[in-house]
């Protein structure tokens, strides 16, 4: 019983997401010039852009699937693979680079056991690189989801990351 409930619950959740996606598509229907805005909203819903979502957006906005795929892979912001619950991004812009951004990335890779652009098996973390988030006065900087951390030390780094479940 319990598992059945969970299953239908997950299904219902997914259905709800696709329902919301339909609303987004309706808003931008037949307007190819609003593709990027629509993709932003779609990724906000799903956390990434699976093929089915790409197909629906392409159909709704009247652009080809290859164009949608082209745009998604061009911009850093969009992802076609599922992301972890928490997105850890180490800044490697020039200012952070001078102040040890590289060492932060190495530390995170070692501790999380993944490389940049990968996700941990338990989906708790995705690790990525970001090129300058405009927090150069606080170099080296790290971004976890929407939170900016500045003057991060390799010794303190994991303490911060572990706070995110």
């Amino acid at each position: 019983m319990v598992t059945e409930n969970q299953c239908s619950c997950e299904q219902a959740q997914e259905e709800e997401l696709y329902g919301k996606l339909q609303e987004v598509i309706k808003e931008h229907k037949g307007k190819p010039k609003e593709l990027i805005m629509a993709l932003h909203k779609a990724q906000n819903l799903f956390g990434y852009l699976p093929r089915k979502v790409q197909e629906m957006v392409a159909e709704g906005l009247n652009v080809s699937l290859s164009e949608v795929y082209g745009v998604i892979t061009f911009y850093n912001f969009f992802s076609t693979a599922p992301q972890g619950r928490n997105n850890v991004k180490v800044c490697l812009g020039t200012a952070c680079y001078v102040r040890g951004g590289q060492a932060l990335l190495k530390k995170a890779e070692k501790e999380l056991g993944i490389k940049a652009d990968e996700t941990t098996e338990d989906r708790r973390y995705s690790l990525g690189i970001v090129r300058c988030i405009g927090a150069c006065g606080l170099a080296p900087a790290m971004l976890i989801n929407d939170d900016v951390y500045g003057r991060v030390k390799t010794t303190k780094m994991m303490e911060i990351i572990k706070k995110y479940e």
Binding site: K33, I36, T94, C132, G150
Partner: protein, 526 residues
């Protein structure tokens, strides 16, 4: 009516948020409520005060007391002492007091006098309240333009002021407007480039966060001059707070009839839409940005035709940087000759610099064009951190130029730097002390370009990959004798043949690093 006795301004920017500004703000509001002072004391958010590294910063008016490094634990004491009993809490008062105010030269948190035109209101007014902007002569310039100047006069005044684009290319703003005005077509667009992606640059973010109405007014004036009724702000997706503040400001301006149809009862109509970018450095290039605005991959276009004749949806389009547009209201309000009172003969006005790297007080400053690099580093940024020696600076972001110690007294403006084959670019100054490995710096720049090359043209796509391969080899002590010549040669070919400025600009960091630090870099190759 409630009489507000004290205003507490809390500086909200990336730095203070990181230091816990939101928690302090919440604690403050709760404590004020607990003391029953809600009706008498108002808590307002403002933008950056221009000082970083001071933790959470609060300013209490009317006294004008600045507090730094405030934590939620300090709040009960601060509220009781200062707000209830009227005794400023000495232990938290900032020693370097950033004094306001307008366009006169006065002191700020970064030690020295700054003439503030662009950042006039930043950190002083509440950016989420249009009335505060209006109280600082806001929207007077557009009113003056609409009621007493023809569009041609606005363009003429802007031309006379000598204002050039602050995004890096330094093209004369008035001329750009003139071209677009004279271009054929009924529909024209104003696009504000807020896709600030040059590493080390965050000036536009702080203008947007600290004084969004200034940008709106600048765009209105540009729209009036050019004959456009629609504007777009293309803004980095990462700049969440900027987007939120700008959208709020646009909604308020609409409410006041300052955006929309028949502005100030004239025949001029103008509205602004905010568009979120999606993370691509190349979209800072104006034609790539236009492609992206149209919902496509951000590939640069062939020029000519230039955007001023065929831009967004093939209509005449002006693309201006945030800082450029933020200069416009003051120029229209006070006149071109007033503006020419700042800066140098050939390069009037001020420039907002972001000064970062190994300096004591990194941050944002606005100084006159032509201020020397030495003054910027030693007077405004407190000198090199930990008393170390200055080794070099990377000026203008990743696409900029390295400068060596003998360039400390060079005047920092667009025209003068050109004579030294350097650029001012976006105004990022990355300072490096004696311990910085120059080869490693150059490596980071080249890696950046490989990542951001958009793949549209062959020289840039393959060139950046080869450059990275070679520099990685040198860095791993496996460099070959002719590797450094190869770096230079590849960059030369890229400069001559790349489709857009991204690939063309790589020659500069490579050649300039070899010019000033050639010995060090050559010693890494057997």
């Amino acid at each position: 009516m409630n009489l507000v006795r004290n205003h507490v301004l809390i500086s909200i920017d990336a730095g203070t948020i990181m230091a816990g500004a939101r928690a302090v703000e919440k604690a403050l509001i709760d404590e004020i409520a607990a003391q029953g002072l809600t009706a008498e004391i108002s808590v307002l958010e403002t933008g950056s005060i221009g000082a970083t590294g001071q933790g959470v910063i609060l300013v209490v008016y009317p006294e004008g007391v600045y507090y730094g490094n405030v934590t939620p634990q300090d709040i009960p004491e601060l509220v009781e002492e200062h707000l209830l009993k009227g005794r400023p809490l000495k232990r938290l008062i900032l020693s370097e007091i950033p004094v306001q105010h307008v366009i006169k030269k006065e002191k700020t948190g970064l030690l020295k006098e700054q003439p503030r035109i662009v950042l006039k209101n930043s950190g002083i007014i509440n950016p989420e309240n249009i009335d505060e902007y209006i109280a600082e002569n806001g929207y007077e310039a557009i009113a003056k333009a609409i009621t007493s100047m023809t569009p041609d006069e606005v363009i003429e005044e802007t031309k006379k002021s000598g204002l050039v684009g602050r995004g890096g290319a330094a093209f004369t703003t008035g001329m750009k407007w003139d071209f677009a005005r004279k271009a054929a077509g009924d529909i024209k667009y104003i696009v504000c480039n807020a896709d600030e992606g040059e590493p080390g640059t965050f000036k536009d973010r702080l203008i947007l966060e600290g004084d969004p109405h200034k940008l709106i007014e600048g765009m209105l004036i540009a729209g009036y001059a050019v004959g456009a009724s629609k504007g777009f702000v293309y803004i980095r997706g990462e700049y969440a707070l900027s987007i939120e503040r700008l959208e709020k400001a646009i909604a308020q301006a609409r409410q006041y009839g300052l955006l929309g149809d028949n502005i100030l009862e004239s025949t001029f109509s103008f509205d602004i839409t905010v568009m979120k970018g999606a993370g691509a450095y190349v979209c800072g290039e104006e034609t790539a940005l236009i492609e992206s605005l149209e919902g496509k991959r951000g590939h640069p276009r062939n020029k000519p035709p230039y955007p001023v004749t065929e831009g967004l949806w093939a209509k005449p389009t002006v693309v201006n940087n945030v800082e450029t547009l933020a200069n416009v209201p003051e120029i229209i309000l006070h006149g071109a000759s007033w503006f020419r009172g700042y800066g140098t003969e050939k390069c009037p006005g001020t420039k907002v610099f972001t000064i970062i790297g190994n300096v004591s007080t990194p941050g944002l400053i606005e100084v006159e064009m032509g201020t020397t690099l030495r003054d910027i580093i030693y007077e405004y940024a407190g000198g090199i951190k930990n008393g170390k020696k200055f080794k070099g600076a990377l000026v203008g972001g990743a696409a900029g130029a390295f400068l060596g110690p003998d360039m400390l007294d060079v005047k920092m403006d667009f025209v003068n730097l050109k004579e030294y084959s350097a650029v001012l670019g976006s105004g990022a100054i990355l300072v490096m002390d004696e311990d910085v490995d120059m080869l490693d710096m150059l490596k980071s720049v080249l890696h950046f370009f490989r990542h951001e090359s958009c793949g549209h043209c062959v020289p840039c796509r393959l060139g950046t990959a080869q450059l990275v391969k070679i520099i990685d080899r040198i860095s791993a002590s496996k460099g070959k004798k002719d590797d450094i010549d190869k770096l230079l040669k590849i960059a030369q070919v890229m400069q001559a043949t790349s489709f857009c400025p991204l690939g063309q600009s790589l020659y500069l960091p490579i050649s300039s690093s070899l010019k000033y630090f050639g010995g060090e870099i050559h010693s890494r190759v057997r």
